[in-house]
Symmetry: C2
Subunit: 410 residues, 2 copies
Amino acid sequence: MTFDYTSIFRDDLPAAAVPFGGAPKYNFIGGNMDPENVPVAGLTDALTAVLAREGKDLAFYNLGTGALGYKPLREFIARTLKRKAAMDITPDNVLITSGSLQCLDLINDLLLNDGDTVIIEEATYGGAMTKLSAMGVNYIGTKLDDGGICMQTLEDNLKRLKDQGVTPKYIYAIPTIQNPTGTVMPIERRQRLLELADEYGVAVFEDDCYADLVWSGERPPAIYALDQQAGGRRVLYCGTFSKSIAPALRIGYIVADWAALGQMVPLKKDGGTGALAQMALAEFFNNQFDDYVAASTKSLKEKHDVMLEALASEFGTTAEVQPAAGGIFLWITLPDNVDTMKLFQAANADGVAINPGPEWTADGKANIHKMRLCFGSASIDDIRTGVAKLADICHREFGVPVRSGNVERN
Amino acid sequence: MTFDYTSIFRDDLPAAAVPFGGAPKYNFIGGNMDPENVPVAGLTDALTAVLAREGKDLAFYNLGTGALGYKPLREFIARTLKRKAAMDITPDNVLITSGSLQCLDLINDLLLNDGDTVIIEEATYGGAMTKLSAMGVNYIGTKLDDGGICMQTLEDNLKRLKDQGVTPKYIYAIPTIQNPTGTVMPIERRQRLLELADEYGVAVFEDDCYADLVWSGERPPAIYALDQQAGGRRVLYCGTFSKSIAPALRIGYIVADWAALGQMVPLKKDGGTGALAQMALAEFFNNQFDDYVAASTKSLKEKHDVMLEALASEFGTTAEVQPAAGGIFLWITLPDNVDTMKLFQAANADGVAINPGPEWTADGKANIHKMRLCFGSASIDDIRTGVAKLADICHREFGVPVRSGNVERN
């Protein structure tokens, strides 16, 4: 045979995947959750009830009810965001997506062309940067502190870009449980962000994927809500159920005006999002969202505290880490001589998975001594053992920490 | 407020969606299936069993088992395609996708650049053409008869393109229950297609989405299988469970070598396909695929026969229609003076939905008097009433048919 399809692959493909080789033993990366917290019985009951009532509708694309998604789930989202984030929306402002990664794709497809510029947080979700790079979009990182984006730096960046003749398309913000720093942006900054969006003619992309997981159970009004109160149309909002229940369900959502949703529906080329998961979530959460999320968040908080303690005990002053206000990760600064890209490789070989700083920051070089550790899926024992193992590996590779668990290392 | 995000939408967006206005009463379009055939109890039992056993794994992206998808489902697909279509594959040759539309996107992304050319069947799945057009890819239609693609015309097209210095990237074929003509390509033509692929350096994209629904229950070896037997790597294969069970589950699959799948995994940007539907299908079908598909196909055959009878009775010789060998649609040729784009609009206003020929053909103008009617989701009564209504509308608009149900029209 003379012809082989590998000879005609596009020549600008991303690197090929490697075959799956199993999960690392100490898995401190990714948005995985705690298997013990999956409400298996509740989901089963929900599915049994909703399928008995509406299972025949599976015969129709989108259950025969249109491209926005399963209406009871959109109703639940609208009601919950109104109650918890002060967003004054109807189910017709909600587009159900195949996970929040599809939210990023749809909002990017709506707004961005090759060569465009956007503003992101200096440390942010790595997947968002990967998608921007693949589209040929430039991103500018903006300084963060313990209240999220620093508004003066944001203004300076916008001004500098304007002087260069560049109008960025959007400001990408994760205001409630920032990824990876775990902070919550106060309301005054949210207001200021909207003022700057007006002044510089920039949209706001509000990614609220972790907002259900605030330890206190209370979150500020969404930037979307504040924009609404001011009569604006500056904010495209996205959320997910991956964190508040389980990522394998692949259900996210975009909240926006129909002016935007109506344009995004034709860009959503997958024939609709899987209906079983939508039905299960709506049925389950309509009864027990608050109770379930409260229990799940309490469990995450315990793990957060265990990881903080383990870091203090194993790394001591070598690791600088600020407690998170919620979520599933900690952002850790190590001494300047620690190269987390190398630490990542050495740890990986020993079954410990970490996110090296450069993968999670706009300026990778400046953040090579930082790392993100996720605590959502590991057990408490594995958090303790894995962090101790990581300290060993770090000491072996970089000479720090010099003390662990009150024991001097040699 | 001065800024509004609608001012920065990309200027090359497709037309916006219109808000969902409800399904038409007589719905003869789309891949919808019969609600009475959805195995609600079976799916519920399957979900109950699989969630009790593996529900905790929902806490992990892809259930913690890698990007190809839920392994028991990949095992089922490999086993079934071996048995029914002679494909000698393992679960690692199967990538589960979020519906077969994602198969089209992934294979297109793997191979096609703006300006490329592909060969399609002269009448084919409208969604495939929409996707190609959106990518700036040219498509050339090839003549069909009751055995699918006419190989002489295919060879002539390939030769003509070669003389023009054009090498098409792939031949897109729906060989088993061709959409919309409902034919099955005989094995000799499948062999000849592969020879031509070699001779002209072209890949084959085999879309087998309806292959489970052959009335006889038997299908020829897949083109993929014949290619394998010849030691080749010319064919990328796709299938779906939308037709063999229910489209709202959104589960399709690509079969290919790892050389192709490993490149497609990074192009699949959705964080994995929904796990609940994958689990439900694997659990349900592992026990009762053959029985379920046989019963469902029997019911579709009854509807097919009812639609044929209704067309004969209401349109008489005005409608030329060949019985289908399986599937959910009929392809109908009306007299030259009937403009199905106009018929589509008039029928739509009266609650009858049809696919006008131009939406389903490479050369729309030449097929303006043809139409596709789907019988998968409508009840037998609605098929009879809807076809009679369509004949009325057609007579009103175009003066044909002149007789319906033995009654002369005036």
